[in-house]
């Protein structure tokens, strides 16, 4: 239940992140000064918080998306299985986010 709304929220969050992804590419194409301005903005505390948020959103939405794809094939529908896969999704998203930033820094 909670994961369903979280799936939407992380999806919408990444739709906004998509704008930043495009801005990243456009600023890189625009040249070193423009790109520097972009990286300075993203290195701020708020910028970093957003990046961590988007990485979590990605891992959560991807894992929960796989869960949805499994449901589409008619699998994993009973209550116990659905509860169990929900915890796996949350655990994976948290662990993957931590591992990603540990590897990135």
């Amino acid at each position: 239940m909670v994961l369903s709304i979280l799936h939407r929220m992380t999806g919408v969050a990444m739709s906004i992140g998509l704008i930043v992804l495009a801005a990243w590419l456009m600023q890189a194409a625009a040249g070193p000064e423009a790109y520097l301005r972009f990286t300075v903005a993203m290195s701020s505390l708020i910028g970093k918080l957003f990046l961590v948020g988007w990485s979590f959103a990605f891992f959560f939405h991807a894992a929960n998306g796989v869960r949805h794809l499994a449901w589409d094939t008619g699998r994993g529908f009973d209550k116990r299985q659905a509860d169990r896969s929900a915890w796996i999704v949350v655990g994976f998203a948290a662990a993957a986010t931590a591992a990603f930033w540990w590897a990135a820094t």
């Binding site: 919408v12 992804l21 495009a22 456009m26 790109y35 991807a62 998306g65 949805h68």
Partner: protein, 126 residues
Amino acid sequence: MSLKTPLGRVLGLGSAKEGTDHWWGQRVSAVAMLMLGSWFIYSLLQLESLTYLDVIRFIGVPLNGVLLSLLSITLSYHSYLGVQVVIEDYVHAPGTKVVSLLLSRFAHVFVAIAAVYGILVIGIGS
């Protein structure tokens, strides 16, 4: 003002013919995003740094440029389909709904073109 029930009014008119396209498109782009997203996360971790020269060198590699373009287009498409459902679920006033859907469509096409254009400029320049 019709005395027909809502069901009576639509019976026999057929479906809007777009239901399965939307559903299927979302699934196909979801599977594509799993692969492209994994590649992107892996690539970010492989990057020496996110400074200008390292990023330009990465995007300038033809295969990376192709995959990044695919990712931008697929992500925009998947995002458009998702945002469309959210708008349809939460925006009920007919006028606002149509305008929101229209703006969402324009914004998604704009973002996809902007991303691919940026990648092309970098690819051609390097």
